[in-house]
Symmetry: C2
Subunit: 217 residues, 2 copies
Amino acid sequence: MKIAIIGGTGKEGKGLAYRWAKAGHAVTIGSRQLEKAQRIAKELNTENKEINLVIGLQNMDAAKQAELIVITVPFAAHIATLETIKDAVQGKIVVDVTVPLVPPKVSTVHIPAAGSAAMEAQAVLGEDVKVISAFQNVSYEKLMDDKAQISDVLVCGDDPEAKNLVLQLVADAGMKGFDAGALQNSIVSEGMTSVLININKKFGVHSAGIRIIGLEE
Amino acid sequence: MKIAIIGGTGKEGKGLAYRWAKAGHAVTIGSRQLEKAQRIAKELNTENKEINLVIGLQNMDAAKQAELIVITVPFAAHIATLETIKDAVQGKIVVDVTVPLVPPKVSTVHIPAAGSAAMEAQAVLGEDVKVISAFQNVSYEKLMDDKAQISDVLVCGDDPEAKNLVLQLVADAGMKGFDAGALQNSIVSEGMTSVLININKKFGVHSAGIRIIGLEE
């Protein structure tokens, strides 16, 4: 699958690029600066000879050539980034990983006016884009480590087919995904990141995550 | 500790009463109807000879004589119940277990105007009440089973001392509690219940829960 990771030069984006390229997907890293995107793609290719070739492009070009577009940008750049790629993603699936953290109080949940960052994405991109939210609770430090115990992934969205496709991408990336309901539910996975940041602080760790239990009766 | 469980004749309240009475706390079950409260208390005492005696009182009387008050009512009765006990809980700790479910779409997250049910409780009860939120993701079916694998408990609140006390009560009830940050974070644990209802449906189970992982590095 042709996947573009917008803001893919950040740690979360780079980690997802690694996992999907390893699973055989055609991954493009997007950045506002072409050179930066190309540098991170080259790093990934050089350090991991076994993965599918990752390429680097500017955000809009990355979005244009992809079937599925993943957004991993800081919340402060969320709306501006969405507006940049809006035309290029019409009719496609957009996976929003954005967490509405508002520094300096990143361990306190912030609810955007739209109800969540993902609902904000849906509002900006329009109804012809299938917005799915996922991966907010995954620690980037774990993504580069194939043996790490990694958080389960809550997947929210209103289009069942797009949601199933993203659940498959979660599995391809070596994680366990759960259908967490409508896009409106995304505030739970987004806000959970602030809760986990708080737990990280209390325990002096960096990668607290969640596991869904009680699935066998 | 003298604990009152308002709406304690429901399944969640009855389960918590059982767990705390077993741990030696003095538990009062509250209900709008005295007779119902007394009947459920008697049931608990008769079926579980080993636990501390549970008594039944009307909601306001239950709140009046307790040091700590737990609210386990349906969201539709939330504000009315808070107004009933408001005078009786001034200066005390109130643990809100309420989940803002709006039937029939209980698997979709509903964000109350105050930001969460717990924030709504704080607004109604006033600033002299220490509101803590907890236990929203615990399946009542698990509470009567001492050997059940049970959800971890996210504890939110703005008063560190009150929060620590509630974390101790979580442990007394045989569960693992986590400081999940400010009361403002309560929408995460409240909304998680809708996510878990959705997961229950998909898996055909009744008691999905969460576990916090990644605490050792």
